[in-house]
Amino acid sequence: MIIAERKPIKELLEMLVGHDHVLLVGCKGCVTVCNAGGVREVGVLASALRIARRRQGRPIGIDEMTLDRQCEPEFISWLEEPLREKGYTAVMSAACSVGPQYIAERFDRVAVMPALNTKFIGGTLEHGVWAEFCRACGNCGIHNFGGLCPITRCSKGLLHGPCAGSSGSKCEVRPEVDCIWHLIYQRMKNLGQIEKLKALKPAKDWSGYWSGGVRRVVREDLTL
């Protein structure tokens, strides 16, 4: 899922300067799972912002709403009625960055602000702890590495085994992080595929990553 975390209250207050009636919109997708922007976190954030603004002597009205997902225009359209009828001057989106962008595209007369910092594609390590697992490089090759991704989970993105800094199965860049090459070796050993690691990998094709402009996926069978 997309992992995000709330921006500091101070930063959000700066965005809200000049606004007195705002709709805070959460998302029931990824950011709910990582406890950054679901119904509950929206409630906490709205309360915190109201408290902060009252402390500043400039009370603000913040209404709360949480969409099923903000990464689909269908759900963004649910905002039409409240925006038309309540006269909000701004929408603060507690979603990954897709949400505020969709809201901005749909409603050209309302200020849109991100409440969250979108961090990475990751998973839960334990309750309250998330880590990056995928860099969305566009050309997945984890079958060559026992199902584990060295592009993302090796600090140096190495494709041909660990660097010389790996020590005690831990990464030299972040000692609390497992050396993914240690894990890959163990996995391949268990799978009886150690020989496979000896094969030289061709240079990775990065054209599906940070090049060629905005990436797009089209499923002809699904398009209308």
Binding site: P8, I9, K10, R40, G43, V44, S47, A48, L49, R50, I51, A52, R54, R55, Q56
Partner: protein
Amino acid sequence: MSENFEPRIVAFCCQYCSYSAADLAGSMRLSYPPNVKVVLVPCTGRVDPLHILRTIEDGADGVCVAGCLEGDCHFLEGNFKAKKRVAYVQRILHEAGVEDARVRMFNIAASDGPGFAEAARMMTETIRALGPNPLSTKTEKMSEEL
């Protein structure tokens, strides 16, 4: 700060320990400030950050969450969860410009009536020193009514 200021404190008390302790304090005829209004919860693990934030937002001068002694939770770790949530709310309040000392966690055994009375005294004195909740415009009026 008004000399007449009487803090209004909401205490979320676990039914297995601190609520019983409050009960016992009464049975023991112990004297403690009447500023603490008790809300019975099945376990402090049930207390959500929103409960605390909204209580402060609605004008309470202080909030305490009172659970079992650590290791004695009827639900094993509810009071540890509450401890973390109280710390989380304190951070949020600090970010929002409100004194984080207005929110506090206590651990009181069911048999510790004097402990509850002491906690009530301590919390009341802390809030008295901090003054009224700056969010409450009605604080003075309500204090007079107490």
